[in-house]
Subunit: 372 residues, 2 copies
């Protein structure tokens, strides 16, 4: 396991060296985790000119976390004492001490105030600052099989939580209660916690992209949209399904469901290594466009998942880039009709070579329209 | 209600005008909420030279949120279309259009990348950028009675959730389950949700300042530390209590509990308008120091609460400033003995004039050591 982190730091080193920097300061939490494993909040990572120069700088410890507790990795750790200030400043100071001349920082994460503090401690004569950009985010896009295994387990957990809920009585229960129930079951089945705020949307709320559960109660005849995910060893995935409550869906509900199902299937089938990200979005979007639903659609069909629930790549109309094998993404189109409700269907899949049978579906709960 | 927000913006206007800026761009979510009410994620607020020049700039809407839905306020709203970019850049552009010559931004929030994007759209000849600093955080410290009422209700909700848990069987249940149970009860009793990740710590985990609930089960003889809070209309408070499981606490448990109780009481009694923040910390800390627990104590005794669970003021040894009336704070000292456990007692109180009877205690669950 520790070799994985050292190997990732080494790949990052190659990238910023090629871009002209001698060291990098990684501060975005998910990026630090990717390169160093689970670390205390606020820790920053200095990636130096070789593995021996890499250093994790942690803020002062909680009351009982002993300094230097990391026994599973060759990465050196420095834990600051109370009042010692920003770990980023300490790390930059050390980089300058190692004769780094150009330190790449994450300008999309560091605030202006923190960056200014770095510069005040380190005049340009001593250390220049450059932008690391999204170099770590790019490294994170293609997952190794260990990462995919964590996502697969997380998806199983979410599937289990959902299937248990579907066996229970739903009519009369509030969106909030159902959401809390799902989150409890995620933890029961081994999740660290939910991957994101669980959404349960009934009746006119159904099909909304980001719906915060309310006290509305499930009623006969409702569409019920559920969106949830598990975090497992830091890896997050998502599943979304829409059901009908009661025995006989209305015609408009069947028609809308079939349409969104077709759009989502088109998106899934477009997941081929080498396909453009925007073409995956287009595949799903045009099914909905053709049926007259061009207005009010979500801005994107899906996105990558991993240590963050929302990461590169974006499956969106203006997205650049192409899919690689071993990239996990969501495919989650939907249609919401204000005042009536709607349908959202979301899977997490891993892009695989066509010769291996196409994308690996992680979220296997049926997508057939169930009447509950 | 809308008048409250306009009045707050007006107070902010006075501050940045005095500092030489003609407009301000507020981007930190809690600060935007304080000045404009609940807004969509990513919205930024431009505070201009008068109320008529104030503008909320929102990113593209979710699928069914109509643009311009705010009907309860005089604040103008602009909602961007898909692909229109960063609301902060749009807001800065508008500020320049209003002949602002110096725009104050929150340098402790905006990233280097976003700040650079603002500057590239707005050469210095057109609009200078300055630092707003923590002007909004400073305005937020003293609460009005409406805000205090929300905190009071949140505290009641937390007290209720805790008391219900104490009536249930605890032995044999895991920390995780108890934490989830508490969070469910918070929502049952009307909270928007938990104020922060609920902590339940048993046995050797008890008394730890930031403990993530594990699968350890409650056992006879354990200390059990619970830390939770409710979010109510955006306002967050916290309560922490420590109990003993079983009928007969050990002598070391009674002694440690009495000590932490005394420290916490000393902290509470130091909450007088005009007292230095560091003196409140000192009052609690010295009780623990005198008993030999100087090492490993938390860095601070407490902190302000409001729209964020952790805000100014800090009750810490190096803190500047003095208490005002109507400032809500936590007082939460504790001692944790690695491998044995410990005690943490946390209340949320509102500083009140001594003539009014001293600080108003919001979290009224008994602090007597209960054997459960």
């Amino acid at each position: 396991m520790p070799e994985v982190y050292a190997a990732r730091r080494s790949r990052l080193r190659g990238r910023f060296n090629a871009a002209g920097s001698t060291a990098a300061l990684v501060s975005r939490p998910a990026n630090v985790r990717y390169l160093a494993g689970p670390v205390p909040d606020g820790a920053v990572l200095l990636v130096g000119r070789s593995d021996a120069h890499d250093l994790l700088v942690c803020p002062e410890p909680a009351d009982d976390r002993a300094a230097g507790v990391r026994t599973d990795d060759s990465l050196r750790v420095q834990t600051l004492t109370a009042g010692a200030g920003d770990p980023a400043v300490a790390a930059a100071d050390l980089a300058a001490g190692h004769d780094a001349d150009c330190l790449a920082v994450e300008e999309h994460h560091l605030t202006v105030a923190r960056h200014r503090a770095l510069r005040s401690v380190l005049p340009a004569s001593r250390l220049r600052l450059s932008d690391l950009g999204r170099a770590v985010e790019q490294l994170r896009v293609v997952k190794d099989e260990e990462e995919i295994s964590c996502l697969r387990i997380g998806a199983e957990i979410a599937d289990q939580a959902l299937s248990e809920l579907l066996e229970s009585i739903l009519v009369g229960r509030t969106e909030r209660h159902l959401a809390l129930e799902l989150e409890r079951r995620l933890v029961d089945h081994g999740a660290d916690g939910p991957a994101f705020a669980t959404s349960v949307a009934t009746g006119p709320h159904s099909g909304r992209r980001s719906h915060r559960p309310t006290d509305r109660r499930v009623e006969e005849g409702d569409f019920l949209s559920v969106s949830l995910g598990a975090s497992y060893r830091g890896y997050r995935c998502s599943i979304g399904r829409t059901f009908v409550i009661g025995t006989s869906p209305a015609d408009w509900q069947i028609d809308l469901y079939d349409l969104v199902f077709a759009a989502q299937r088109a998106g899934r089938e477009a997941l081929v290594p080498g396909s453009a990200h925007r073409d995956v979005d287009h595949a799903a979007r045009q099914v909905l466009d053709s049926a007259g639903y061009a207005e009010g659609l979500p801005a994107r069909t899906g996105h990558g998942v991993g240590l963050e629930i929302d990461e590169d790549p974006q499956l969106a109309p203006a997205a650049m880039g192409k899919l690689d094998a071993c990239v996990p993404v969501t495919v989650e189109p939907g249609v919401h009709l204000p005042g009536r409700g709607g349908v959202r269907i979301d899977d997490t899949l891993v892009v695989r070579p066509e010769a291996d049978g196409g994308p690996e579906l992680l979220t296997i709960t049926t997508k057939e329209l169930l009447a509950l």
